[in-house]
Amino acid sequence: MTAPVDRRSLLAAAAALTAAGALSPAVALAQTASNATVMAVALRPVFGDKPIKPGKVQLKVPVVAENGSSVQVSVGMDGPEMPKRMVMVATANPQPLATEIRFGPRAARAEVTTRLRLARSQTIVAAAEMPDGTVWATSADVTITSGACIELGE
């Protein structure tokens, strides 16, 4: 015989659901804040104390990559605007700055695909400095199941 669904268990279930629902925005907010910190730290060597604004930059990385020695990464911009330069940072590599790209008059779009060697699972940061001097950035996480042999013992 199945247990009857009483008012008490229904209320408990409802409360649990509400709590979960109320929690998720807070979690999302905390994540955004930590991403902002990661981006600020990653970009300080390139842009100094310039404020880093989230957005405008598109970054495509695989969610999971089997081999860290060659991970395809694409960067681009949300609109047709051409940045002065774009950078990619592999935040957990021994030397994080991966590339700085300056586009010339013959580039059709601010869009580049390349391959990175990643020591371990980490956050990739891509940033663009616009002609007006503002810096925009986006980050994405990639999980590496087998890291690149970057240092002895890894």
């Binding site: 700055l97 991966a98 010339g104 013959r106 390349t114 060697r117 990643l118 042999c149």
Partner: protein, 105 residues
């Protein structure tokens, strides 16, 4: 050094076309040690430039997180028939150049 470059033979004026370039290079990052525990000296391609009839398409600094056999693909604006030139600069100072013809109709 061997390089592989992919450029369409014919493109239409005003259109964007994709170019892919890969160089065969170990990109030794300088953080690794050999069997005897000695540090393997860094030797990477640290600079890559693509020009179209002399005008820059893109000009990049490369650092150690760029993978072995470094690859880049990007979009170029078709202007006039001519030549795309590619240039890779090695840590040892050597420069590798490659060019590909392009016809714009």
């Amino acid at each position: 050094m061997k390089v592989l470059v992919s450029v369409p033979a014919v493109v239409r004026r005003g259109e964007a076309f994709e170019v892919k370039a890969m160089a065969m290079h170990v990109m030794e990052n300088g953080f690794r040690r050999d069997m005897d525990g000695k540090a393997v000296p860094r030797k990477i391609l640290n600079h890559f430039t693509c020009r179209y009839n002399g005008e820059i398409v893109l000009d990049c600094d490369w650092h150690t997180p760029i993978s072995a056999n470094p690859y880049m693909s990007f979009a170029v604006k078709a202007v006039d028939s001519g030549t795309l030139t590619f240039e890779w600069i090695d840590d040892d100072g050597s420069i590798e150049r490659h060019s590909a013809p392009i016809t714009v109709t």
